[in-house]
């Protein structure tokens, strides 16, 4: 058991090293960091004017939306491309034959590869999150600067305790929106969603003959997964009017495709709404179990694959 774990860890570390060397992933990561950082400029396009706190409600929302959106978007593509290339590259370079000729089980090989992808995604998300934190800090400073300059126009406001109290309230609103601890919850949920995408891509790549097929199919499943809730609701509440084919199709989608729309609660966090950790943990547990099921199916397919 321990030796098996060690083999998985070794393969995972190698997978991470190989992935980090891939130019396409590095370029994606650079784009992601640039886009996250640029969200502070995009926010400037939002409605100008208004009182300081009102103005920054909107601009901070923009920074959060575009920052987390970039993390989700580029995280998705990094997960998709790096996972889709895993097995085809091993086959192309013929390294898979060398590895599997050693006392390494196919399941260990696959789990090691997936472990490496998780490490890669954790690294990328951490870097993007760091850029996000810096961007939010810049936005906070811009916001506080505007609040200060607005009150400066009132003349000798610092000697009027009532005005000082109003200033402090406005500044506190900006700080509380920027330093929202729930943003950690949002990034963790985004990470879980991206790992699920990687698991789907891994499953498809175990039987796909080309990486392009894996990329396109995973992308389609990703889109369908955001509408899975609709299919499930239709399937569970359908009346006599639906045909057997409709029923079979939505039933199949409901049973096989994950519900990724549940992860859009990240939007609620970014809009400033409170999401209890209990709900987020429920969602994380769902994602974890789903990944385990997908890995189990991947192992079965890969075990029987002719290489």
């Amino acid at each position: 058991m321990i030796s098996s774990l060690q083999r998985i860890i070794v393969i995972g570390r190698n997978t991470l090293t190989e992935a980090v060397r891939q130019k396409v992933l590095n370029v994606l990561l650079i784009f992601a960091v640039v886009l996250v950082s640029c969200s502070v400029f995009i926010s400037q396009l939002a409605t100008p004017g208004l009182d300081p706190a009102g103005l920054f409600d909107e601009q901070i929302k923009f920074v959060k939306d575009f920052g987390c959106g970039a993390i989700g978007f580029f995280g998705f593509f990094i997960a998709l491309l790096s996972t889709a290339l895993l097995i085809p590259q091993e086959l192309h370079n013929r390294t898979i034959y060398t590895i599997l000729a050693k006392p390494v089980r196919r399941s260990e090989f696959l789990l090691g590869k997936f472990f490496g992808i998780i490490l890669l995604l954790a690294l990328c998300i951490s870097l993007m999150s760091l850029a996000f934190v810096v961007t939010l800090y810049v936005q906070e400073q811009v916001g506080l600067g505007v609040v200060d300059s607005t009150y400066e126009r009132m003349g000798d406001w610092k000697n009027n305790p009532h005005i000082v109290a109003m200033h402090d309230h406005d500044a506190a609103i900006i700080i509380s929106q920027v330093r929202d601890p729930q943003l950690v919850e949002a990034v963790v949920l985004l990470f879980a969603k991206i790992v699920m995408t990687a698991a789907i891509a891994l499953l498809i790549s175990t039987f796909a003959t080309s990486w392009i097929f894996t990329v396109i199919t995973t992308f389609m499943i990703y889109l369908i997964a955001h509408a899975e809730g609709l299919a499930r609701t239709f399937w569970l509440s359908q009346g006599a009017e639906s045909t057997i084919w409709q029923s079979a199709l939505v039933g199949l989608i409901s049973m096989l495709i994950p519900d990724m729309n549940s992860f859009t609660i990240v939007d609620e966090i970014l809009a400033g709404n409170h999401i209890p950790w209990s709900h987020a943990l429920n969602l994380l547990a769902y994602a974890n179990i789903y990944v385990i099921v997908l890995l189990a199916v991947s192992i079965v397919i890969f075990d029987y694959r002719e290489i």
């Binding site: 009532h162 889109l223 509408a227 729309n261 809009a271 709900h279 769902y286 199916v297 002719e306």
Partner: protein, 265 residues
Amino acid sequence: MTTLPLAIRLRRALLIALILGLWAPFKIAWEQNLAKQQDALRYNGIVMTRRLRDDLGQGLTIGVLSGMRNIVADLIWLQVTTAWEDQEWFRMGGLINLCTSLQPRAPVFWDLGGWQLAWNASVAASHDPKQPDELRRLKAGRFWVDKGLDVYLRGLENNPQYWRLWSDTAMLYQQRLKDYHKAAYYYQQASERPNAPAYLERFPAIMYGLAGDDQAAYDSWKALWERLTPAQREMKEHWKEKIESNIRQLEQKLSIPKEKRVFPN
């Protein structure tokens, strides 16, 4: 690549069917539970309808379906700003509705959307140089005030904890509709919400004063005074001296018996 023997292929298919078959009922039950929780917590913003799809267009619909609902809403919001600058009020109203439909739990869209309609569109319409008839101008102005009010009220249904929406609705009743009793009610609600600034606590009483309802104003000032602890009264943001002077004035004006006064001396 050689083809696997049928028996092996069957065994593989059976194993996969077994794993997925065992997982499917749990999966569906779990997802239903998650959806129920999210419904109860009012997280689910929109259901993709044909009309919404037509309004969004193909590109933005794919954005929504890819889980980028908030970014799509933000991009549409940028068009609201453009429509405002171009003074295209009906287009702006439609775009605000689209944003609030996509993200009904984002208070900032309701807040600024209501302001755009009730103030910017309304003031522009009531001062429209192309409309010589003053009555028509006033009617157009009122039309947009009502549209803005509708946005605020729907926003409050979706975000009842957001103090600024209550306060903005109150301000609309106060400054545009001159309905001070309603303004007092909404300011009162705003002051009771989390993170509301302390100055809002005084506004209901001020509104009753503007409405000429001295008794209600006195009751409101008195209730505020009694609600504040002695320590809170000393805090600068509560403006102790203003509350005190208003209560004293109204006690004089309403001839409140000395034994019932907050400040008998």
